[in-house]
């Protein structure tokens, strides 16, 4: 029974991971937000990961595994906050891990750190350069956090460091791809129909649990059950897609961003033009990861678990 600290436990993935692990392991949470519907045996330490007082979590008893999920993906936050949260926060946690001899560090990065580029090979391996910040400065803090982990991997060979880079996560999580796919009419870019990869949150949680419990180390891409062109994806979801010329789309996105209608900055449109797919053969071989959700099942779940509808339902329930 290992002692596992999960940062960002109050988020969707954090809660799912805690539920997956807490019966077999001693799970501790670290999050700024309170954890709703918390299982009794999970203790949550409510604090900002940038604060010194988080050290208390590690001082309290030998921590075997640190799972760091608490990364800020909300690009609407001010740049400096994104940066300090993702870079300083991660740095601090790694310092504690080093000081208190944590046996293992698991970090959830994203496949987006590779960036969507026209000359990407169809499937990017873990060794591909992280070009995500090339045209998309908001991504820079995510790339920096990922690289911090790579440095840590070499600096502390005695600590098993695992970085997971999953493709677009969908399901009940409220993130860019999920919201994008739940739009009633999905805007796409005219003349471009990139092949997409999606991974269901259940499979990401499974990969995280494997990374936390199996004796593995290194960087692993995590892809889902398959690949599909964007237009077919929309069709299979039973939604219409509206192709707009790129220059028009860019202007609209900038306006929408300024007004505050969208959480997606205009450079992220590259993900609707160019491929950013990952090769997850290493995860399948070394981590023993096998996506349980096939592509059609994932699509079915996306269709059913409309995040807007769900949020509305929860809101009504609370009243």
């Amino acid at each position: 029974m290992a002692r596992i600290v999960v940062t960002g436990i109050s988020g969707r993935l954090g809660r799912l991971l805690a539920q997956r692990l807490h019966l077999d392991h001693d799970v501790l949470g670290l999050d700024r937000r309170p954890m709703v519907r918390k299982p009794k045996d999970i203790e949550v330490f409510q604090a900002d990961i940038r604060r010194k007082k988080c050290e208390r979590v590690f001082r309290g008893g030998k921590v075997d595994v640190l799972v760091h999920l608490n990364i800020m993906h909300d690009f609407r936050r001010p740049q400096h906050e994104l940066h300090s949260w993702n870079v300083i926060g991660t740095q601090r946690l790694l310092e504690y891990a080093a000081r208190y001899n944590v046996g293992k560090v698991v970090f959830l990065s994203t496949a987006n750190v590779y960036g969507a580029r026209p000359d990407n090979p169809q499937f990017l391996t873990e060794d591909s350069p992280l070009m995500g910040g090339e045209r998309f400065s908001e991504m820079a803090s995510l790339v920096a956090a990922d690289m911090l982990l790579a440095t840590f991997f070499w600096k502390r060979p005695d600590i098993e460091t695992v970085v997971l880079r999953p493709a677009h996560i969908v399901g009940s999580v409220r993130n860019g791809p999920s919201l994008y796919l739940s739009m009633p009419v999905i805007p796409t870019i005219m003349g471009f129909d990139p092949v997409m990869q999606m991974v269901h949150e259940d499979d990401v949680v499974e990969a995280l649990a494997l990374a936390a419990t199996e004796p593995v180390r290194g960087v692993f891409n995590v892809a889902g059950g398959g690949t599909l062109p964007l237009s077919v994806l929309c069709r299979e979801l039973g939604r219409r897609h509206l192709p707009l010329p790129y220059p028009l789309m860019k202007i609209l996105m900038k306006r929408a961003w300024d007004v505050g209608v969208t959480d997606m900055p205009a450079p992220e449109l590259d993900f609707l033009r160019y491929p950013c797919l990952v090769d997850d053969r290493r995860a399948r071989k070394e981590l023993g990861y096998h996506p349980k959700r096939s592509l059609s099942e994932t699509l079915e779940l996306v269709r059913a678990g409309d995040p807007y509808a769900e949020r509305l339902a929860r809101y009504l329930e609370r009243r």
Binding site: P121, F123, V232, P245, L295
Partner: protein, 303 residues
Amino acid sequence: MTDTDTTAGPGRSKDLDLWLDEAGGWFRDWGDTEWEERIVRAAAHNLNEFGYDSFGMSPTFIRKLIPLMRFLYRVYFRVQAHGMHLIPQGRVMFVGNHGGQLPIDGMMVAAAVALEADPPRILRSMVERWVPTLPFVSSFMARCGQVLGDPANSRHLLEQEEAILVFPEGVRGISKTWQHRYRLQEFSSGFMRLALEMKTPIVPVAVLGMEDAIPALHNSKALARLLGMPSFPITPTFPWLLPLGLLPYPVKVQIAFGEPMRFRGDPNEEDDVIDRKVDKVKVAIQGMLDDRLARRGKLLGRW
């Protein structure tokens, strides 16, 4: 070299007769749905549950293209393919000469392998890095199985026992002007390292005729840079007739497939060792080209 050329004979001089005879192939296989089925079946391995492969190729899309391909192949260019029986099964790399400004040569080689090889095969050509940035072209290419020319992509396809098509001359070859026609430009050596690594036979391919279909008199580097294109050809009709001027002239095309070449060795060898192997392929292709050129009649091989 084996020769299956039977249409050339001293008795035939009337161009129309000849044309009708050659184009007749189109009428013969018009509506040959059985062959169409075989092509679609050749495309239909490694598909997901929605009928797409991981590179975005769709056999349904390919089926729709077959009539157009047949028209271009049989009627427009009246392609004569030689050495079809030499094409091996399993993973294979076709290496050809590139020319004619637009990659129609790749299209016709792919058409030959789909329409005339038995069993038909779907050729995945490795396209220029510029292509994925082009709207419509990029998605069209992906649907019919064309893939960005990156070594990782080629490796992935060869692992799946696919047939790939490589033009090691790249832009140097396709953009050369008419005065340099059928003279091979410098080969990049990446294909050879890949063939050694993946233990893949190389089939040399010579394409004759394409470079007369869009003869570039000049290549404007300044305009190319201005428009962000790899090259900007000036032909008798382009850019004067706008995009229509790039329509290839209906010249007669010959495609020759050579004996598969199998190389052995370390893919990470020094450049000069690899280059010697590359030269063997280059010599084979140039030899087939010269051979066909010498036998081709005057007037661009009879229109």
